[in-house]
Structures are given as structure tokens and as C-alpha cells.
Amino acid sequence: MITFTDVHKSFGPKKVLQGVNLEIPKGQSMVIIGGSGTGKSVALKSVLGLISPDSGTITVDGKDATKGDRDAFLARFGMLFQGGALFDSLPVWQNVAFRLLRGSLKRPRDEARDIAIEKLRRVGLTPDVADLFPSELSGGMQKRVGLARAIAAEPEIIFFDEPTTGLDPIMSGVINDLIREIVVEMGATAMTITHDMSSVRAIADKVAMLHDGIIQWTGPVGEMDNSGDPYLTQFISGSAEGPIEAVR
């Protein structure tokens, strides 16, 4: 279980997180929604230690995320970045097998390549993609490679940062379905941040709405449409009228 307790984070005068409290139960898929610039990515990166909160605590299975063996902690996570964040200088298979080629999870090179090709196949890519470089791939293929990299070491917890941004609706649907299938298949805990409502409906078990630096609403995805929360209702309907200012 991932738990945020009164997490605050500011960048200069801008207060991004102002007391976030949230629980993500083990094995569940939590989707955090909210407008651009509301701190969704900051919350996610705070768990991984990429950003340090100013105050508050984040625990994973009851242990403080900032303490203990960093390598062992990070080995439990996989992450799909918004733009893929593939390493330009490495061929696709080495991107996918990056964690398996070095560090505590190191495997023989041939075995790592076989695992990479299997994971590529899992996300719908053929083995001939393995030796291409990221710059030779389309945006959708890069997302799939990023997804393959995120699951390569079979992590317990997977984070997805805006998984469908920049993709056409059909490719978005494919990525959403893949994410859902993989999370269910692996029994992983998933945390996704997005403002794409089709992703929310496809991926989420539970939804949390982040606005003004706090979680405004959280609950099962099935209750989202009838929540009665004015922030969530406005966000889902995409209306300019409501408590969320249209110009931010």
C-alpha cells in the first residue's frame, strides 16, 4: 500500500501540494486526475524520490519511502514516462532490458535480450523492433517500448505518467487496454496520472481528483459520475462553469 500523509511541496512561491492525503491499496489501480499544473506528476515523482516533499510522509507498505536501501526500493517499481524517456543512444532491446543489464537484477546478456523481446511481444511489438533505435519509432511505438521497459523486471508497483498524451484515440485505446491487461495479469499496484477520461474509465479501480494542492475527491471509478463533488463533476464534463477556474 502507498500512503501519502499531509504531503506539501512548493516551488518558490508556488504551492503545488498543500496537504495531500491518499491511500493506494495493494494490487489496486489508482488513477489521479486533475488539470494541468495541479501537481499530479509532483505527487508521483515524490514517491520515487525524484522530488523531495517539503513536509509530510510517503510510505510504501508502511516504510518511509525516503529511508532504507534505495536500490532495493526502486527495484520494486516500474514507470512509464509521459514522453517515453527512452535512451536515444541505446537500441530498443537495451532500453527494455536496461535494469536487467546492470545492478542487482543483472542477467546474462542473451537472457536479458530474450526477456526484452518477450516483453516487446507482450506490448504488441515484433522482435525486429528490438534492434531499432528509439528515434526510428513512432510515438505510439515509443509508448509501447516504455511500457515494456516498465514491466521488464516484473515490478510490484507500476506508475504511468500521462500514458496516452500525444496519441490518437485508437492508439490511446490500445495503450489503455494494454495497461489494464498488464496490471491485472501481474497483480501489480498501479498509480496513473492523467487528464484523459477515457484512460480513467479503462484503467482505474479507484480515482482521486487533485486540485488546489489537495485531494478533492476519491472513490471507486463506478461512483465517479454520480459523486456530487462539484470539482469532479466539472472536470468530467469539461465545462468552463464551476469551481475550477478555466484560466489558470
Binding site: L48, L50, G78, M79, G83, A85, D88, R102, G103, L105
Partner: protein, 261 residues
């Protein structure tokens, strides 16, 4: 009153920012140095850095050195040394290239070619979240990106300086023997007789220091780049400026250390 104090306040802010940058660069450089000696080691990254910083810099270093050596020979010959030109030209070309021009020009060429490339590459990795991705994949960016490049520069730039010294002296030799009519054997003998071991050692030490500066500045500004294409551009520009100025300042300090009597 505000009108009078505003320039002072701006000067104070600039001074504080400058001092803070010096502190940050120093901490970064020390951290990078310690990562060279602590595992894990990334041999493939180190080999790539050796290739990029050393082998691929050879053409620009060679061309810079040969033209500089040739021009130096012409300047010395033209500058009033005709009375004993055959002795003076090779001696001054040799000492000028080995003590000063070789290390400084190689350092500046490396700053232009390598520092800019390291800064742009790492800054692009930062803005495209590749550095965050490295961290999430349990790989320390300082170990994976900075340490191999710094170690490669510390090793290979002195080699480049040595090669630059030799090519520069050869440039002077070519001009002197082909254009000015000097005797080749005499030119070589005068060069070898005049150069001392300490000249060569100082040249190579300067190379190592300048290589370290070039790689550190590239990595530092890359890692601390701002967002977007503008951030990458600014990081690249700042890295080359800082590397060039620091190389020239370090050259002065090292020359004072080695040769002031």
C-alpha cells in the same frame, strides 16, 4: 533612495549568485571525482566517452595544431629573429607549442567540441525525463553519465595535448624547412636540444586539468539545465563559456606554478 540602492542590490544579487554557482560547481566536481572510484563502473559508457572525447577530437586538434605551429614559425621568423632564425625559430615554436599553445588550444577545442556536446546531450536527457528514468531504473546519473566522461577526459585530453604538441612542432618544421629554407636536421636537433622533460610534463598536466574542466562543465550545466529547447541552448552556451574561461584561468595558475621563478 530606491534609485540609489537598486544598482547595489542588483550587484549584490549577482555576486551571491556567482558565489553560489562556484560552490555548486565545486561540490559537483568533487562528487563526480569520488564517483570515479566507487562502484558500479560502466565500462561501455567509459569506452564510448574515450572514443567521443579522444578519437573523434583528433582531426580538429591536429588541424588546429599544425596551422598554429606553422603560423608561429612565420611570426617568429618575421619578428626580428632573422639574425639567428635557424636556432631561434625551432626553439620558440617548440617551447610555445609545448608549454602554452598546445595545451590551451587543445583545451579550447575540446571545450568547443566536447563540452558543448556533453552539455547538450545531458540537458536533452534531462528535459526529456531520461535522467529521471535512469534514477527509477536504479542507476545513479552521476555514475552513469558524469563519472565515465570525466575519467575519459582526464585520461585522453593529455594524450590529445601530446599529439597536438607534436603536430604543432611538425607544422613549424614544415613551414621552416619548405618555405623558409631551414635545414631539416638542424631544425630537429634544435627542437630536441631545447625542450626539457619538465616542459612536456607540465603540458600533459595542463591537458589533464583542462580535460577535467571541460568534462565537468559539460556535465554540470547539462544536469542543471532549464526546461525546453531554450534550456538546452542556454546550458550548452553557458558550459562552453565557463569551460573556456576556466581553462584560460587554470592555464595562468598552472604556468605561474610551474614556471615562475
Amino acid at each position: 533612495m530606491m534609485v540609489l540602492t537598486a544598482p547595489l542590490a542588483a550587484l549584490g544579487r549577482a555576486t551571491l549568485a556567482f558565489l553560489a554557482t562556484i560552490g555548486q560547481v565545486t561540490i559537483f566536481a568533487l562528487s563526480a571525482l569520488t564517483h570515479i572510484f566507487r562502484p558500479p563502473f560502466y565500462a561501455r559508457e567509459f569506452a564510448n566517452a574515450l572514443l567521443n572525447i579522444g578519437w573523434l577530437s583528433l582531426p580538429v586538434v591536429g588541424l588546429t595544431a599544425i596551422f598554429t605551429g606553422g603560423a608561429l614559425a612565420l611570426q617568429i621568423y618575421d619578428g626580428g629573429s632573422r639574425f639567428s632564425a635557424e636556432a631561434v625559430v625551432p626553439q620558440i615554436v617548440a617551447i610555445g607549442m609545448v608549454r602554452e599553445l598546445g595545451p590551451v588550444l587543445v583545451g579550447l577545442m575540446v571545450a568547443a567540441r566536447v563540452t558543448s556536446s556533453i552539455a547538450a546531450e545531458i540537458a536533452t536527457m534531462k528535459v526529456t525525463e531520461q535522467i529521471d528514468a535512469l534514477t527509477t531504473l536504479s542507476t545513479h546519473p552521476m555514475k552513469y553519465l558524469t563519472a565515465p566522461r570525466l575519467l575519459a577526459a582526464l585520461i585522453v585530453v593529455p594524450v590529445l595535448v601530446g599529439i597536438g604538441d607534436i603536430i604543432g612542432i611538425y607544422g613549424g618544421f614544415l613551414v621552416s624547412t619548405q618555405q623558409l629554407g631551414f635545414n631539416p636536421a638542424t631544425y630537429v636537433r634544435n627542437t630536441v636540444d631545447f625542450l626539457q622533460q619538465s616542459d612536456i610534463i607540465s603540458s600533459l598536466i595542463k591537458g589533464a586539468v583542462f580535460g577535467g574542466i571541460a568534462a565537468t562543465m559539460g556535465c554540470y550545466y547539462g544536469m542543471n539545465s532549464g526546461r525546453g529547447a531554450q534550456g538546452v541552448g542556454r546550458a550548452t552556451k553557458a558550459s562552453v563559456q565557463a569551460a573556456a574561461v576556466l581553462i584560460l584561468a587554470a592555464n595562468f595558475l598552472l604556468t605561474s606554478l610551474f614556471f615562475s621563478t
